[in-house]
Structure formats: C-alpha cells, structure tokens
C-alpha cells in the first residue's frame, strides 16, 4: 500500500465503511426488521469488495444468494413471526455480555490471522475473466465435492418438502 492514493483505494474504503456500518447497524438496531435491512448494506458492500478484487463471478453470486435468497428468507421469517410488534429487541438482554465475549474472541482470531498472513503485494489487479476457470475447476477437480453438495442439497429439499407437507395437512 505504498504509492499514491488511487481511486480504487477510495472505493475500497467506501465499500468497507458501508459493510462495517451495515454490520454495526444489524447488530445494534433494536428493530428486528431494520436490522435485517441493515444486512442488505453489508451484503451489498461485500459484493462490491469482491467486484473490486475482480472476482466478478463471486460478486454476482454474493448478490444473488445473499440478497436475493438469504435476506428475503430472513425478512420472510421475521414478517411472518406472530409477535412482531413486541419483537423490537433483536436480542434478549441477558446474552449481551455473551455476545460481546463471542465478538471479542472472533476479533482475536481474525486479528491473529491478519497479522500472521504473508500478504503478497500485487501491483495491478488483474481484470481477467474468472468464470471459465471456475467452470473448469468445478467440472474437473472439484466435480466430486460439487456432486456431494448437490446430493446434500437435494436431501435438504426433500426433507423440507416432507416437513412442509406434514405441517398444514395434519390440522
């Protein structure tokens, strides 16, 4: 990070700030729905960071999976909760200290990793397409894990269908 301040740096700081702010908002907001919407900021910021690192495939997947899928599912779950008007507090008060402890532990782990990691300095980010390479990896060396994940997901879906079917049918 020697050399001039480039525009990419500015964008990086901006995205990082958005990500961090989103995370903070999600953790600290007392309104559970707003907390979920703060997550949107985090997810989008992370996607932007991926994009900045020229991992465009990952960025698109991040948006698609986290914003289009996870976030919407969370909102769904929150909005369908029955006592939504009482649930302004996102976390029960009792576990606040536990949360702080967990956060501190996580921070320590991350910090150690950060300090120990041998960062390679790369002068210019390569804007090479990653998609083809990813595809080859997935169908080549990563084929077995892909298959395993696929099977697992299939089982999950079947399980979900079975559970869902049992729910309203038994009434």
């Amino acid at each position: 990070m020697n050399g001039d301040f480039t525009l990419a740096d500015g964008v990086f700081w901006l995205l990082s700030a958005a990500t961090a702010l989103g995370g903070l908002g999600a953790a600290l907001s007392r309104n559970i729905v707003r907390a979920v919407f703060f997550l949107l900021l985090t997810f989008a910021g992370v996607a932007g960071l991926y994009g900045l690192l020229s991992a465009d495939f990952l960025a698109a997947v991040q948006l698609m999976v986290y914003v289009g899928g996870v976030l919407v599912l969370m909102l769904f779950a929150v909005m369908l909760t029955s006592q939504i008007d009482q649930a302004h507090q996102s976390n029960p008060v009792g576990s606040r200290w536990l949360g702080i402890a967990c956060g501190a532990a996580m921070l320590a782990v991350l910090w150690t990793t950060l300090v120990r990691a041998p960062f390679l300095e790369e002068s210019a980010p390569a804007y090479a397409p990653t998609t083809a390479e990813l595809g080859h990896t997935l169908t080549g060396i990563g084929f077995l894990p892909l298959l395993a994940v696929g099977l697992l997901l299939c089982a999950v879906i079947v399980g979900a269908v079975v559970v869902a079917r049992r729910g309203p049918g038994t009434e």
Binding site: R34, A60, V67, V72, L75, F76, P129, T131
Partner: protein
C-alpha cells in the same frame, strides 16, 4: 470504453490519478446514459401500454398530450413530481422513503448489460447473465421494504405475496436462462448473441426443442417476476387494493411504476438477446457488421423491434387474462415450471454432447421447428380472424388512431328517437 479512456488520457497527458478520475467520470457518464435510456424506454412503454389497452378495449387511449398522446408520459411524470409525497404517520419512515430505490436500482442497473447492438452496450460483462439475475434480485428487497414500511396490512400482504412469488419464480427463470448459457458456453450476453444467427432457425429458440420450451418457461417466469397479469397478485387491485404501493404517492410511486415498466422492457430484451438472436441480421455475419455503421443501425433496430414485440405481448397478456390465485401461482411454479426448466437445462446439455454442432440433423431440427412455429402463428391469426368475423367486429389494430366512435345504431334514427325527450324551449314547436 477503455480504449477511449486510454486515448484521452494519452492525448491529455494526465497523471495516474487524473487517469483514474477520467475513467471514473466516463463510467459515471455511461451510468447516467444507461439510466436515461432506461427511463425513456419505461416512460414510452407506459404510453404504449395505455394505448394498446385502449385499442384492446375498443377505445382510443391517451390522445391529448402531444401528437397521438405521445407526450402523455411527460405530463404524467410532471404530475407525479409535483404531487405531494405523502408519508403515512404510522409508517416506518426510513424504510418507507428508501423502498423505491432498490427497485429502481435493481431494474435500471440491469440495463447496463443489455446488448442493444453489436457495439452499443454499456458493459459487456463476462458474467452478464449472472449479473442480471443478481441485480434484479434487489427488486424484491425494495418491495418488501415498501410492504413493511407502509404499515398497512394490505401493503404487507402484497409485499409478502411479492417476495414469495419472486423468490419462487427466480428458480425457473434462472434455469431457463442457463439452458441457453449451456448452449452458448458463455455468460456474456454479447457472446451469446454472437453465437446465434440472423435466421430464425439459428436462434436458440428454434435450434432445439428444449430451447423452445425454455423460452416459454423464462417468459412466464419473467412475467411473474415483473408482477404482471396474470401474476399481478402483489398489486392485485380487486384483492389487495394496490398491494405494496397502496400508500405511495407522487414521485415515489413513480419510482415503482417506472421500475415495473423498465422491467417489462428488460425481460423482453433478455428474451430477445438469449432466444431470438438479438441484433443479428439474417444473412449478415457479425464480422461483416462490425465495420459498417448502417449494419449497426439496422442491428439496433432489429433488436429493438424484437424486444418491442415482447413488450407488446406482455401488455396484451395483461389486458386479456384473469389473475391466478396464490396457491395456483406457487403450484404452477414448483410443479411445472421449475422441473420443466430443469429438464430443459439437462436436455440442452445432452444435446451439445450428442448432436454435433452444424450437423445436418441439427439444421433439419431448426428448419422443422421454424415451420411448426410459423404454422402455429398462422393458426392463431386465422382463429382470431374467425372470432372477429363472427361478431361482426372488424380488425382494428390501428395504434395510431386519432379517435373515432361508432354509433351503435343509425345515428339519424337515434337523434330522432332521443329528440322526443329533449326539453323544449318555450315557444318551440314540437
């Protein structure tokens, strides 16, 4: 774009930071142009929608502002901007205020990868198709924000319906698109268009039977994702008042509105690029097109026309069909469309493995399917004509009608008959 930036930077002898600022400025400029184009398209589509609705319903449609009402969108836009932007007292204010933006960002950002012609594209991303799917998923967040933030039960129901619907229909839509991606072997929209040809049998629509089915699955799913009839449950007027945008007024409503219409064009454009050969002109190879401005212009027109037909179909669907019920909607998606799209994907994947590219068999299939499609189109037109004739109506497709009404009965008789009840002035003879 990058070439232009390099050229300008070299000729102006800019510092590295200057270069970056220049390229950033160019990106910003492109974004603004894309936004403006998308906005203009959406606005013109609102005109088209109302005009087509008018013709479908044997009335004229907007014809007051500008020639043929063509500036109606401008008047509407002005009205929306000038109207008070009401925020309900009980609303969740920040969410309510922010809600239109994810919707607009989601739709308008997707326009960056629409290949209007061979060279006319804001950003030909390597992950184009994925980018489209990813960016448009922002829309649902905006709708949920609106539904929740309005603090109105109808809005909430609309928001939840919408989210359920979009999440469900994203699956078949993405799978149907992937079945084309598998054929083309690339995610870049420009390359996908280039991999097709100008003639109908070279389109991915008619090249394999699976592509044909995949197109219909994609189109259905896209209509559903765009909340259009017969899948307009989130804003079902007769059920949920206006769904998630019940409480919105003024320009914030305009945001949703324009987003919806831009989305119609977007889905038609994607269908046109992925299934209908995009800007490809019959008989002209992409290599020949590059050099000529005229071929480029013609390619642009071809693309816009194809997308326009798509928009027209979407609009006609809205004025033709009743609306599905929630359970029918999800059943349609999970029972038929999603497995169907998956089969198309597998089918196309097997096709590339089993059928050699450019073989006689592949070409014969293309010709055969083109013939079948043409026959279906002809049958449809004839059937329509028969219905028209049997009611004594005449075909009136004149979208540019200045307005005329036909008297139900002989006007002279009607005037005479009504005249009996006209109030007579004092002294007037009966």
């Amino acid at each position: 774009m990058r070439a232009l930036a390099e050229y300008l930077a070299a000729s102006w002898q800019l510092s590295p930071l200057g270069r970056e600022l220049l390229s950033a400025g160019l990106i910003l400029l492109t974004a603004i142009v894309v936004f403006a184009v998308a906005l203009l398209i959406a606005a013109l589509l609102t005109w088209l929608e109302r005009r087509v609705a008018g013709r479908v319903q044997s009335r004229v449609g907007p014809n007051r502002v500008g020639p043929l009402g063509l500036l109606q969108w401008l008047a509407d836009g002005l009205k929306m901007i000038l109207k008070e932007d009401v925020v309900p007292a009980a609303a969740d204010r920040p969410l309510f205020l922010l809600a239109p933006y994810p919707v607009m960002i989601g739709v308008f950002a997707a326009f960056a990868t629409v290949p209007f012609s061979q060279l006319l594209i804001a950003a030909d991303l390597d992950v184009g198709v994925l980018y489209l799917i990813a960016v448009t998923s922002l829309v649902v967040v905006g709708i949920l924000m609106a539904g929740w933030g309005s603090n109105n039960k109808w809005s909430l129901l609309g928001g939840i319906r919408s989210a359920a619907q979009i999440v469900a229909y994203e699956v078949p839509a993405a799978l149907a698109l992937l079945s084309v991606v598998v054929m083309a072997g690339t995610l870049s929209l420009q390359s996908i268009v280039a991999a097709q040809g100008g003639w109908p049998w070279e389109w991915y629509l008619l090249r394999t039977p699976f592509g044909f089915v995949a197109f219909f699955i994609y189109f259905t799913a896209a209509v559903a994702e765009g909340n259009r009839t017969p899948f307009d449950l989130p804003e079902a007027e007769s059920e949920l008042v206006a769904g998630y945008n019940t409480e919105y007024s003024g320009i914030r409503f305009g945001g949703f509105f324009l987003g919806e219409f831009a989305n119609i064009y977007l889905m038609s454009a994607i269908a046109s690029a992925l299934f209908f050969g995009g800007w490809q002109i019959p008989g002209v190879t992409p290599a020949e097109q590059v050099g000529s401005v005229w071929w480029q212009a013609l390619g642009f027109l071809v693309f816009v026309a194809k997308a326009g037909v798509g928009c027209l179909v979407v609009i006609l669907l809205r004025w033709t069909f009743p609306r599905l019920r929630v359970d029918q909607l999800t059943a349609l998606c999970y029972r038929y469309l999603a497995p169907g799209a998956f089969l198309c994907l597998v089918g196309n994947a097997l096709w590339i493995v089993l059928v050699p590219a450019g073989s006689l068999f592949e070409r014969m299939v293309g010709y055969g399917m083109t013939a079948v499609a043409a026959a279906l189109g002809l049958w449809f037109v004839l059937r329509m004509r028969r219905h028209m004739v049997s009611t004594g109506d005449r075909l009136d497709l004149d979208l540019f009608a200045r307005g005329h009404t036909r008297a139900a009965f002989d006007p002279a008789w009607q005037a005479r008959a009504y005249g009996r009840f006209r109030r007579r002035r004092p002294g007037e003879a009966s």
